[in-house]
């Protein structure tokens, strides 16, 4: 797929990949060999009928392709962009054995964009007629898990209300993933699409505080918890509370959600220094690093305790970050942050690491190289070492069973320890992927529907 040049794109927030032209899409679709037993579908957490939608693309019927995808996936424009296809559908593609797999993600994205650009997807749906079977269901959180669950339940004829704690819907799609990876106009349209199915969305509603789950169960026959993993982890090292040290959540929230770079037109401030260090190796770290460049940082360092090969971030995003000029400081572990005498961070003291024996996850464990300690002068630090499940709902719901690390415990079909209450996405898995959250939302919708039938 064509991309905007690094020199040009790193100055703005517009998307980096340009998407397929219709000709490119047809050509790519024609490469698909239409397997009888398609492995790609098994690789997709929401089991999109991939060969079927690709077949109609090859025939030039893009609208039909869009409908096909939406049978199983309510948010294709988002998934086509942010799914790690290389670990899912595309990894299973039989063509990958001897060559390049079909670019399923790019095709999905193309179809969703085509539909959006040529027509109003909202008009193509109509509210489901309410039937005697329709039940009231509460969905907590409007991130990918909640949106998917709500959309699926609405299509099955239920009355769904989403409760969102923030003032804007979308969860991580809105506050976390930056505009240049996922334009917010697309997220808004997808939310509008879900609303067009009859789903009611209530923002500024923090469940646990405004209503407990117990109270919701008096008014709703089913509840789905999709409240995510938004609790930032810190390393608990000296200097982490200095000014200029942000959690990635705070940093990205200020930028993506509050448009802090438009200050003072937007009143939320942010201070992005000349030298920014981002700690971590996941997609969130890449996002924070690339955002920093776009907002004027002269040097951006990515501090990661393993090497580039072990980074959990998508390969594509690691390349994007590198092309744009992010400096990778691999095999480095921050030990402490020091201040400039005025409470502001001025340097990150790091331990040089090397790779040792494989650990439980099968990856080589990073071990310190004794006495090899080095300093990176910085004026901003972004800590992107991961998030834990949001503790608020579990804390305020005494009967909700959770793992020690905070994840809500569910059965195979998403049921929690409370009858009628289901959960999915990051509140169950810890920080995972958009598509796995959507898969959970979809599965829970099916189970809730069955339970209430």
């Amino acid at each position: 797929m064509n991309e905007r040049a690094a020199s040009e794109r790193k100055k703005d927030f517009k998307e980096v990949p340009l998407g397929y032209t219709p000709e490119q899409a047809i050509a790519e679709a024609k490469r698909c060999i239409q397997c009888k037993k398609p492995l790609c579908v098994k690789g997709c957490p929401v089991e999109i009928n991939i060969p079927a939608f690709i077949k109609v693309i090859a025939e030039g019927s893009f609208d039909k392709a869009a409908k096909k995808i939406k049978e199983t996936n309510a948010l294709p424009a988002i998934c086509g962009r942010v799914c790690p296809q290389e670990e899912q559908c595309e990894r299973e593609c039989i063509l990958a054995v001897k060559g390049e797999p079909i670019a399923i993600g790019n095709l999905e994205r193309f179809v969703a964009d085509y539909e959006r650009e040529t027509s109003n997807p909202k008009l193509q749906t109509s509210k489901q007629p309410k039937t005697s079977k329709s039940k009231k269901i509460a969905v907590i959180g409007s991130g990918p898990a909640g949106l998917t669950c709500a959309g699926n339940l609405a299509r099955l004829g239920h009355q769904v209300t989403i409760f969102e704690s923030l003032h804007v819907t979308g969860g991580v799609l809105t506050y976390g993933i930056p505009e240049f990876r996922l334009p917010k106009a697309i997220v808004n349209l997808e939310v509008e699409y879900i609303k067009s199915l009859g789903v009611e969305v209530k923002t500024d509603m923090l469940i646990g505080n405004v209503f407990t789950i117990e109270e919701l169960l008096k008014d709703y026959q089913g509840v789905f918890i999709g409240s995510g993993a938004g609790l930032p982890k810190f390393m608990k090292i000296p200097g982490e509370n200095l000014d200029g040290v942000y959690s990635a959540n705070e940093y990205l929230f200020r930028i993506n959600m509050m448009k802090a770079w438009q200050f003072p037109e937007s009143l939320t401030p942010i201070k992005i220094g000349k030298r920014v260090a981002v700690v971590g190796g996941g997609n969130v770290a890449m996002d924070a690093a690339r955002v920093s460049l776009r907002l004027g940082a002269e040097e951006v360092f990515l501090i990661y305790r393993r090497t580039k090969d072990e980074m959990p971030a998508r390969k594509e995003e690691v390349h994007h970050a590198e092309d744009e000029g992010v400096v990778f400081k691999s095999l480095a572990l921050p030990l402490e942050y020091q201040e400039d005498g005025n409470g502001w961070v001025k340097l990150a003291r790091c331990q040089q690491m090397k790779l040792g024996e494989p650990d439980a996850s099968g990856r080589q464990r990073p071990v310190p190289i004794e006495r090899e300690i080095f300093d990176i002068p910085v004026d901003t630090v972004v800590c992107a070492i991961g998030n834990s499940p949001n503790p608020l709902v579990p804390q305020r719901t005494p009967n909700l069973k959770t793992e020690k690390w905070g994840g809500v415990i569910i059965t195979e079909d998403g049921a929690t320890s409370i009858a009628g209450v289901y959960a999915g996405g990051d509140i169950v898995r810890g920080a995972a992927t958009v598509i796995s959250a959507m898969g959970d939302g979809k599965r829970a919708a099916k189970a809730i529907h069955k339970l209430l039938a």
Binding site: D204, F234, D243, Y246, E250, L267, K271
Partner: protein, 279 residues
């Protein structure tokens, strides 16, 4: 959207609005706060719930105009709708029968102690309330607190009302005169800090309500992190009230200042905007 039902000016730059928000009023407890976004481009700012009326479904919010967002909030009139109001947030004040409780409010913190004083009194505590401000016309809620407290003490920096001096001077005298079981202090950081130093040698438990910078205020960003007893805590969820003898005030003061310069710029920007709107 929550509508402003009533608005009053309590003092120079301090206003009270009564807002229609039955879902918040229903569950609001003393010590809880809200996050408000008064206009589309404003910040999310935290403000204490100064009172809640379950029957009427309303909450009172008292705020001081100190920056761009509070200035925008103050430009709203009765009948206006507030685009975003989230609450109740935070862990409520711990209310039980302690015995004699001294509750101290400084500046706009005076309004914040009102629901706490009311609740403490209702469960049978002897409540001695101390309020302090720079001068008499900044003393808000004097009458209301007088009605709710067992005793009310007033201090002003310039002596224009009550005792000339600080709330901490009054606190010292009370501690010298009688046995105090608990002290609660809400107000500017230096005031809370001094109150903690007064009570520390007497080993009187002292609760302070911290006011760090907040963003989402639901526990997902950590900007409000404070150091309490050597541990990092998120004030928006675990607080805002903490044991004052455990709080690292120097850390709090440092973390309150990073945007001071930008806050001034924001206020100037908003003032120009509001003037333009007025024509």
């Amino acid at each position: 959207m929550p509508k402003i039902l009533k608005k009053e000016k309590l003092a120079e730059n301090i206003s009270r609005i009564i807002v229609d928000a039955p879902h918040i009023a229903r569950v609001a407890k003393p010590g809880n706060f809200i996050v408000i976004i008064p206009t589309a481009n404003a910040e999310r700012i935290p403000l204490t719930i100064a009172d809640a009326d379950v029957e009427k479904g309303t909450i009172s919010i008292i705020f001081q105009v100190v920056g761009g967002t509070t200035r925008l909030l103050d430009s709203l009139k009765v009948g206006d709708e507030i685009p975003h109001l989230l609450g109740p947030l935070g862990t409520p004040s711990h209310i039980e029968k302690f015995g004699t409780v001294v509750v101290i409010g400084g500046g706009v913190g005076i309004a914040e102690i009102y629901p706490v004083v009311k609740a403490l009194k209702a469960v049978g505590n002897k409540v001695i309330t101390i309020i302090g401000a720079r001068c008499e016309n900044l003393l808000i809620y004097k009458k209301e607190l007088g009605e709710q407290s067992t005793k009310l003490r007033v201090t002003t920096d310039d002596g224009s009302c009550g005792r000339q001096g600080f709330v901490s001077d009054e606190l010292k005298d009370i501690i010298a005169a009688e046995k105090v079981d608990l002290v609660i202090a809400v107000g500017p950081v230096p005031m809370m800090r001094v109150c903690c130093e007064v009570t520390r040698p007497h080993k009187i438990k002292t609760v302070v309500s911290l006011n760090p910078i907040m963003l989402d205020a639901t526990g997902m960003c950590g900007v409000c992190r404070v150091t309490v007893g050597g541990q990092t805590k998120f004030a928006c969820v675990e607080g805002p009230e903490f044991d004052g003898h455990e709080v690292d005030f120097a850390d709090l003061v440092a973390r309150l200042k990073p945007y001071k310069d930008m806050e001034k710029k924001a206020l100037d920007h908003v003032c120009k905007l509001v003037e333009k709107l007025r024509g």
